[in-house]
Symmetry: C2
Subunit: 229 residues, 2 copies
């Protein structure tokens, strides 16, 4: 019944085996889990302390206030999702099909891009002007990166913009709907999506390569999202 039994699910978990001390990172990780699963309104100091099996007041050793914690979460989001999406877009690609596949990887491989975190932050932005501005800026950055990718593959600027929008909005929408379908189901529709997005059928080898790459990384969405009203 010691604290060490609580293991954080985040990859950057700093808790070492035998280290029963709760760190600032533990608070952040647990808050992040809560943000992702229940939304920002459920990120409560008490809830986190209970998960950590630690007194609530310890929180104020690491953080000035709840607001301070929330700022940390937002910072984390800023430093991860947008950056990795932009990086995927900037990857060299022989064809546009390959470029779009690179981008798809963001949304399939949760190591690069946390889709649920993205939805949660977007939801959060609805109730905070400050968050809203940050999200808007991120959206603009992402959109520009996608558009630039199309332009590198010789799409005229205005067509590149429309295609970037279709692609980006569609992914945001897919994430928002959050249906947890098996990866094979998703992959089955990829050729159709590619045609819709690029306006041209990709070469079968390219698509197959992508499917293979995705399947290798596949990690089924872990856990249900079941919370009370």
């Amino acid at each position: 019944m010691k604290k060490a039994e609580i293991v954080s699910l985040r990859p950057d978990d700093t808790s070492l085996p035998g280290n029963v001390k709760v760190t600032r990172q533990d608070w952040l990780n647990t808050a992040l889990d809560l943000l992702v699963s229940d939304g920002v309104d459920k990120v409560k100091v008490l809830s986190i302390s209970e998960r950590l099996q630690v007194s609530r007041s310890s929180f104020y050793w690491y953080f000035k206030s709840r607001r301070d914690l929330l700022d940390g979460l937002l910072k984390h989001w800023e430093d991860t999702n947008t950056q990795s999406l932009v990086a995927q877009c900037a990857l060299p690609s022989a064809t546009i099909t390959e470029g779009v596949c690179n981008l798809f990887c963001c949304f399939i491989d949760s190591e690069n891009f946390n889709v649920q975190l993205d939805s949660a932050v977007r939801q959060w932005s609805r109730q905070s002007g400050a968050v809203r501005r940050i999200v808007d800026r991120a959206d603009a950055t992402r959109m520009a990166a996608i558009q630039a990718m199309f332009e590198r593959h010789d799409y005229p600027s205005d067509e590149a913009e429309v295609r970037a929008r279709i692609l980006y909005y569609m992914q945001i929408g897919y994430n928002a709907v959050e249906l947890s379908e098996p990866l094979e189901e998703r992959l089955k529709r990829v050729p159709g999506y590619l045609l819709g997005f690029t306006g041209q059928a990709g070469r079968p080898e390219e698509i197959a390569a992508f499917a293979c790459r995705s399947a290798r990384k596949s990690d089924p969405l872990s856990g249900e999202i079941g919370i009370q009203v």
Copy 2:
């Protein structure tokens, strides 16, 4: 400083001039405004009563509990958005371009379909299993209606499905991003979207007709969304 000065923004407002009584509908309308602008977590009995300039306890004359109110809001959503989307899809259309334009109307004309309510309910579904199930069912219903529209225009079943998904997810994503751009900006990209969605360029007259229809109904998104953390 009497109650009558508070006027609800909803179209189905039942308050008559001179009627200073606050009705059940007033509570629902105000709650709906709050749900749309701030999210379900901000739908508080106290906040609504303050807006209505009425005692908080009056609420319990009209509603069994806060939960009861929330059920009412969800019911309202169920009875409006999905239904009108399905109706738009079912409208007879000479070409697929015209069909997609009909559907676009849903998202441009707020009389038919309240996009912000849709986002708010979707957000709500993240923290309530019951709401989640209802939203999932609505998504399935809508998707089927869009797919059926493509099939009526002779798209093979599997292609119709992929196209329906691109179209629907893209709209959900667009709503989620919630950028408030002027209608002309949006309309400018419509031909590009149409090409992406249907795989064929629509006839210019059709597109022009749609732009005209939209412009006529245009109502700029009223008000900012600025709330504290």
